[in-house]
């Protein structure tokens, strides 16, 4: 079923639409979540959370802004990342941080740095860019990155080390 057909089905019947969407994209969602959360139970909880998020947000998806797979990847990744952060805070007995409201200057600075990061990453060779996104967007472990790209773990570690050095030089210190 194509993405357009899936969305049309969702529009006409939410239950059937969501069922079809999950039938098609559950492996992708689980794959993305599994990269961030290694614990099986955590990943299963997160998958339920993602399903719920999709119920709530699928109407806000705009096909003109990008493919459905990319949107679902972003939802799964961000939900899993938040899940991971919450778990780490619980483990360290830390309270939830207050919602961050940046000042206009901070927001402008953050946008400029994000643009610089984008340009730097876009200028990377294809394999390095792939390693970078797998590590920092998909948050995949080195072993998985190596196996899926047909590289040895040491090769991936070497690439990541050089990438970090380069990004540190370009972006400056610990701030990106």
């Amino acid at each position: 079923m194509t993405d357009t057909e899936l969305l049309a089905k969702w529009q006409t019947d939410h239950d059937a639409g969501m069922e079809a969407l999950l039938a098609q994209y559950a492996p992708l969602l689980r794959y993305v979540i599994g990269g961030v959360l290694r614990d099986r139970q955590d990943a299963e909880d997160c998958f339920s959370e993602v399903s719920l998020t999709l119920w709530q947000k699928l109407d806000s998806y705009e096909p003109a802004k990008g493919g459905l797979a990319a949107w679902l990847t972003a939802v799964a990744r961000n939900t899993a990342l938040n899940h991971l952060k919450a778990r780490l805070r619980r483990e360290k007995h830390q309270p939830d941080p207050p919602p961050e409201v940046p000042s206009p200057e901070e927001a402008l600075l953050r946008r400029e740095r994000a643009e610089l990061l984008r340009r730097t990453v876009d200028a990377l060779p294809e394999l390095d860019r792939m390693v970078f996104y797998r590590r920092y967007y998909y948050l995949q472990p080195v072993g998985r990155i190596a196996a899926e790209l047909g590289l040895s773990q040491r090769a991936v570690e070497g690439r990541l080390y050089r990438l970090r050095q380069r990004l540190r030089e370009t972006l400056g210190g610990d701030d990106a």
Partner: protein, 463 residues
């Protein structure tokens, strides 16, 4: 790998606002790269382009791509693991065959080689088909292009066995079918993109690039080494013995010298060859010699003698010299005669490191030699007694002789004999080839040595 520090966390957080492109998202899967390698490998191994060495290069790249693809998928299910084993067999067998092709040795059994190759390919396709079906089953994918690939391969093999030259229509039909199969396989790859996420890629110790470089690099080196070593036919050289002649051998030498054979040649003949020529009553030197190439200018001119014996039998003695700076690669000496020959023996002489050396010539089964003119047309073909040899590097004063018994002259009045010394090209060639008649082109530099031919008039003069 060190645990994440603040910089790593900042990068990961920053990427929440910078999602990767559509293409990157499409490529982040354990599935795509592996299946792309397999499809590429199948394309490169199923067809061979017989020019620019592509018939060797492309399959070598193809088998290793197939191996790398299945290496990633081998833990997905047992069928992919079977296909992985088959791809290893295929890569090893091709490796060995490509090296063997650089040498004169044939595989022990050509049939076994063919059967092994077909079995590997069938197992590989079977493993791919069943592996894909196992993955696709829960998702309800119905296409089965690998089954058609199996059928296509079987048809190709049947054609190769039954009709080696099937003609253009069949060839075009096969190509079209193959393109359709590959297209269908690519569609299946796209359809199975979703289920590909369920697979776990197998870890590897060597990067794909390193495996590819190691396989192709070591293969190129081994082939080069095999070609260089095979392009030499070493001589069983030994120092010329300076024994004093017995009365008997001294008498034979005197007899042959009296028959106007060159004294230097007669003195060099070992006792066994002297015994063969003992009793000759008459000798006739070559008439109408046709010098081709550079004839040596030392005392051993290119000469042919017919020696007549009391029982009417005839033996030929060819004496030839070689260029002092001739190739050290493989040479082929061919002796042709329009009468049948037997007891063909010969010996080479040269000086090496200041010592006079000699070595026997090892004659093989007679082979066919073709002469090819400037326009590539065959202008003559004949059977010849041939021996392969290589002069030792830095050897000098190279010359030799060949003795042969003429069994039956087709027409004694016109019987002639000619010795051709054909050298191989200056560099080793791939696949291995003996110097053949195809190289014997009039006027080419690599043709050298004795073109002296004998218009043998012994019978005519005798009558």
């Amino acid at each position: 790998m060190n645990p994440w520090d603040d910089f790593d966390c900042t990068l990961a957080n920053a990427l929440s606002d910078l999602p990767p492109s559509q293409e990157t998202i499409r490529d982040v899967t354990p599935w795509r790269t592996a299946i792309d390698r397999i499809v590429l490998g199948l394309c490169l191994t199923c067809f061979s382009l017989n020019f620019l060495y592509l018939q060797y290069l492309l399959p070598a790249v193809g088998v290793i791509q197939t191996y790398l693809g299945f290496r990633t998928l081998r833990n997905a299910n047992r069928w992919f693991r079977l296909a992985w084993y088959a791809s290893i067999c295929k890569a090893v067998s091709l490796y060995a065959n490509l090296i063997l092709a650089a040498t004169p040795w044939e595989p022990a059994s050509a049939l076994l080689k063919t059967v092994l190759s077909i079995a590997c390919m069938l197992l590989l396709l079977l493993g791919l088909r069943q592996g894909l079906r196992q993955i696709a089953r829960p998702f309800g994918a119905r296409r089965d292009p690998v089954l058609w690939a199996l059928v296509w391969y079987l048809v190709l093999m049947a054609l190769a066995l039954l009709r080696p030259e099937p003609g253009w229509p069949t060839f075009i039909l096969l190509i079209a079918a193959f393109v359709l199969i590959i297209r269908s396989l690519c569609k299946v790859r796209d359809q199975l993109e979703t289920c590909g996420y369920t697979m776990e890629a197998a870890p590897v110790r060597l990067s794909a690039e390193r495996v590819l470089a190691a396989y192709l690099g070591s293969l190129a080196l081994a082939v080069l080494l095999a070609a260089v070593l095979s392009c030499r036919a070493p001589l069983a050289g030994a120092p010329v013995e300076q024994n004093f002649d017995s009365h008997e051998t001294a008498a034979i030498r005197q007899e042959l010298t009296d028959l106007h054979l060159p004294e230097a040649v007669v003195n060099a003949l070992p006792p066994e060859d002297l015994a063969r020529l003992s009793g000759a009553v008459e000798s006739t030197e070559a008439v109408g010699g046709l010098p081709l190439g550079n004839v040596g200018e030392d005392e051993h001119q290119n000469q042919v003698f017919a020696l007549l014996f009391p029982d009417g039998s005839v033996q030929l003695l060819h004496v030839f010299s070689a260029e002092p700076d001739g190739t050290i690669w493989q040479n082929k000496l061919s002796l042709r005669c329009d009468a049948s020959l037997s007891e063909v023996t010969g010996r080479l002489f040269y000086t090496h490191g200041g010592s006079a050396m000699t070595a026997p010539l090892a004659f093989e089964e007679p082979d066919d030699i073709s002469g090819i003119d400037f326009f590539g047309e065959t202008y003559q073909q004949f059977r010849a007694e041939s021996a392969l040899f290589s002069w030792p590097a830095a050897s000098q004063d190279r010359w030799g002789y060949v003795i042969a018994r003429v069994d039956q002259a087709a027409n004694p009045k016109t019987t002639f004999s000619e010795i051709l010394t054909v050298s191989s090209a200056s560099m080793p060639r791939y696949p291995y080839q003996q110097p053949t008649g195809k190289e014997w082109r009039y006027g080419r530099q690599f043709y050298y040595g004795n073109g002296a031919s004998l218009l043998w008039k012994a019978d005519e003069e005798r009558s």
